[in-house]
Amino acid sequence: MNLFDILGPVMVGPSSSHTAGAVRIGNLGRKLLKEEPVRADILLHGSFATTGVGHGTDCALIAGLLGMRPDDMRISDSFRIAKDRGLSFTFTNKTLKDAHPNTAVLSLYGKSGQHIEVQAASIGGGRVMVHKLDGIEVDFSAEMPTLVVYNLDRPGYVSEVADLLANHKINIATMHLYRDKRGGYGVMVMETDQPIPEDALRSLERMRGVRKVIFINTEV
C-alpha cells in the first residue's frame, strides 16, 4: 500500500468498495468491450445485491460504463446521462456460486455489435479483480497495462506472442493462460511494463488462431 492508498483516493462516496470499486468495474467493462456500450445487463451478487442501492453501486457501475472515473461528480446522475448517451441497462440480483461478496457480472453490447461478459469483484479500498471473461475463469486487476488475447489452444502460440512483443521492446511482467473448461480456446492475460503500440496490436490480431485482442492501457 503506498502513501496515497492511505490518504486517498479522491472519490465520490459513500464506499470505496461499493462505489469507487464499482465505478472501476464499469470502466474495465467498457475497456474490455473496446467500444461505446449501448446495452448492459448486469447481475449483482452478495453484498452488491443487498446494500448496492444504498451505496449507489448501480449508478456507479453505469458511470464506469460511460467512462467516468471514481471521482466524477456526475456519478449519482449516471442513469440520466446513460439515457442521453443511448445506453440502456437492466439490473438483476443473483446469487452466484463461489463468488466474492462484492461481485458484478456485466453482459455488454457495443454500438457495432461487439459483445463481452465480464465478471469482476471489488476487493476493498477501491481495487478490483476480473474473475471471468466470457465464462472463462481469469484473474487480473488491470492495474498495469494488460493485454488479453483470445486464442485457439494450439502449440507454439505463446512463444509467437512473446516474440512479437519482444520485437516491439515490450517487457512482459506477468503472463497467465486460462483455458475454457469445455476446451477449444483459451485466454492469455499478460501484464506489460510498457503500453503496447497500435501496430503491435494489429499484428497480434492477424496472428493465426487469434480471435480477439484487447489492450487495457492504464495510462489513459
Binding site: L3, I6, V10, P14, H55
Partner: protein, 299 residues
C-alpha cells in the same frame, strides 16, 4: 519499503536529523520512484480535494436511504448562535460541524478523500481545515502534517488494518483519529516522539470499537463517529503536547488493535449483523429499504 513501525520512523528522525514528515515523504519518493516535487504535488492534490469537499457541503442533500443529511448545518448554526457558551466552545463546535458535514457529503455521493477510508473521511479535514482557516498556518505546514498522518496510517495498515471489514471501526475511525492526532502535534511543532504518542493515545481511546453500520450503509453510526474521531484527536494531541505519554509503546498499541480485530466476531466487522445494525429499528430500516421498490432499477 514502507515502515512497519512508528518507532523506526522516530529513530530515523533522530539519526538523520529530519522531521517525521520528511522521513515519510522520502520513503514515498523511494517507493514510487518520484521526485519530491511530484510527491508534494500529489499531496497538494489531496489537500485541495479536502478543502473543496469542505467548502461545497450541501445542507439540502439527504442520502439515498434518507437516513443522513443536514446535521452538519444544524451544528454550524448552533456554533454560531452559542459561540463560547457551548460546552465544547466555538472552535470545537466548528470541528464537530466539519466532521458531520464531510461524513454527510460522503453518504450523499459527493466527492471526498478517503482518509484512510471513505467512512472515516471526515476526521482529518475536520481538524485540519479550521486550523488552516482560523489559526493561519501555511500550506507547507498543512502538507507536512498530511505526510505525518499518512505515515502513521501506513504503519497501522501494515501492522494491523485500516478496514472495518477486517478490524472493526477501531481500524477506520480509530486509525483516522490516530493519524489526525499526529498531524495536529506536528502543526504545533511537537517532536517525533510526541507525534507517535498522540497517535497511540488516540488509538487506545477507540480500541474495541466495532463496525456495525445500519442496513450495511456507510451512514449510521459512521457520520457521527467521525466527530468522536476528530474530538479525540484534538484531546490526544493536546495531551501529548502537554508532555503526557502513552504508557504502552505506540507500536504495541497498534498490535493490540490487531489482536482485538482478529478476535472480533464477524457480526461486528461490517456485515451489518450485530450491534447497532442488529437493533429493532435497524431491522425496520433495512426492511423498508429493501422492500419499498427502491431495489435495483431499470432503464
Amino acid at each position: 519499503m514502507a515502515f512497519d513501525s512508528l518507532q523506526t520512523i522516530v529513530e530515523a528522525c533522530g539519526r538523520e536529523g529530519k522531521g517525521f514528515w520528511q522521513i515519510v515523504m522520502e520513503d514515498d519518493m523511494r517507493e514510487r520512484e518520484v521526485s519530491w516535487q511530484d510527491s508534494r504535488n500529489e499531496m497538494y492534490h489531496i489537500w485541495d480535494a479536502m478543502l473543496l469537499a469542505a467548502a461545497t457541503y450541501d445542507a439540502g442533500l439527504t442520502s439515498k436511504s434518507g437516513l443522513v443529511g443536514g446535521d452538519g448545518a444544524k451544528m454550524e448554526a448552533y456554533q454560531k448562535q452559542q459561540g463560547e457558551d457551548s460546552f465544547c466552545g466555538e472552535y470545537m463546535c466548528g470541528v464537530i460541524a466539519g466532521a458531520l458535514q464531510m461524513g454527510e457529503s460522503n453518504a450523499c455521493m459527493k466527492r471526498i478523500v478517503a482518509a484512510p477510508t471513505a467512512g472515516a473521511c471526515g476526521v482529518l479535514p475536520a481538524v485540519l481545515v479550521p486550523y488552516f482557516h482560523k489559526r493561519g498556518c501555511s500550506l507547507d505546514q498543512i502538507l507536512e502534517a498530511l505526510y505525518v498522518a499518512a505515515g502513521i496510517g501506513q504503519v497501522i495498515a501494515l501492522r494491523s488494518s485500516i478496514s472495518g471489514a477486517a478490524g472493526g471501526c477501531q481500524a477506520e475511525i480509530g486509525s483516522a483519529s490516530a493519524m489526525a492526532a499526529g498531524a495536529l502535534v506536528h502543526l504545533k511543532q511537537g517532536s517525533p516522539e510526541q507525534i507517535i504518542h498522540a497517535a497511540a493515545m488516540a488509538l487506545k481511546n477507540l480500541l474495541g470499537l466495532v463496525c456495525d453500520p445500519v442496513a450495511g450503509l456507510v451512514e449510521v453510526p459512521c457520520v457521527k463517529r467521525n466527530v468522536v474521531g476528530a474530538v479525540n484527536a484534538m484531546a490526544s494531541a493536546d495531551m501529548a503536547l502537554a508532555g503526557i505519554t502513552s504508557r504502552i509503546p505506540p507500536d504495541q498499541v497498534i498490535d493490540a488493535m490487531k489482536e482485538i480485530g482478529d478476535n472480533m466476531g464477524a457480526a461486528f466487522r461490517e456485515t451489518a449483523l450485530g450491534g447497532l445494525a442488529n437493533t429493532q429499528t435497524a431491522h425496520d430500516i433495512a426492511r423498508k429499504l429493501n422492500g419499498d421498490g427502491s431495489g435495483p432499477g431499470q432503464a
